[in-house]
Symmetry: C2
Subunit: 180 residues, 2 copies
């Protein structure tokens, strides 16, 4: 962040009066440019004993499998965002069942919110960001080819909970690999 | 948003190829400036049968009562954010008990995440953004002087759940008043 998005002047970076951390500040128009985490919303689309995964057609993690998820848009509820991402990536329609897990990924300033969802029918096919879309039973999950650690953790938690039939809302953290 | 925060050139506003909504785009350096909802995190600090409210020393809603809450910062977990806001606004230390409610406030691009929390002790006093900080039993809550509708709804839901002793995670929506 180098220039003020409001007036186009150069920004400085320091702690504003009354604040406790550095911000990008425009000395010309006075605007403080706060930066905040982004929410990623997605779901675990269930159909009978299987769940739907998408094989990524884009970087990062091209060719790896993931749950449908993406950035929440302005003006959108969290469940509408999860439904939209599922349609974009798998052309699938889901009914959102319940919020399932929230993951803090502090080192990339992301908060993941994953829902459990029910596939409305068997009509699904790859959207433009997917190479392939498939239903997997637990034993079929390609564990060594999952795109992101947050998706790995969501799947592990989900199949653990599925054995009990209880899905309490879960909060977890994903840490930088070299800090673990 | 008028200028590119990366290179300082003027922005255009249109739908990028492969996208489905208009974005602020820099034709000079190519950067697309996505805008996404912000998370507000806060808590209901409990002590015995009372909860802590703060009377706002800042606009909007100067002089009205609220639960401690504020924007999640980069690099922060949602529960750390709720603890920080409680300390800033009420100089109070809390233990986060459980996530309690998420509210979509789409018309201002905010997602509120409220936790139930336990006050660690009786040491609390107004932070710089509060005029007054007080414990209230249910009958004492100043219902006509609550700062925001999302806080009103959180409190109504909370006292309803408290009668049953069960606090399932709740997702709600706050709509623009003139649309209701």
């Amino acid at each position: 962040m180098n220039y003020c998005s409001n007036c186009g002047q150069s920004l400085t970076y320091h702690i504003p009066p009354g604040d406790d951390r550095s911000r990008h500040i425009c000395e010309s128009c006075g605007l403080i440019h706060y930066q905040n985490p982004k929410m990623v919303v997605g779901c675990i689309p269930e159909l009978e004993d299987k769940i739907l995964l998408c094989r990524r057609a884009i970087e990062p993690c091209y060719g790896k499998w993931t749950l449908p998820a993406g950035y929440l848009e302005n003006g959108e509820t969290v469940s509408a965002g999860a439904r939209r991402e599922t349609f974009e990536e798998a052309q699938a329609r889901v009914e959102i069942l319940a919020p399932y897990a929230l993951y803090n990924i502090c080192y990339v300033n992301q908060i993941y919110l994953m829902f459990r969802a029910r596939l409305m029918d068997r009509h699904f096919r790859p959207g433009s960001e997917s190479l392939e879309v498939r239903l997997f039973s637990e034993v079929e999950i390609p564990s060594d080819e999952i795109a992101f650690r947050v998706i790995e953790e969501t799947l592990v938690q989900y199949f653990k909970d599925r054995r009990t039939g209880l899905f309490p809302f879960y909060i977890g953290n994903i840490y930088k690999k070299n800090l673990q």
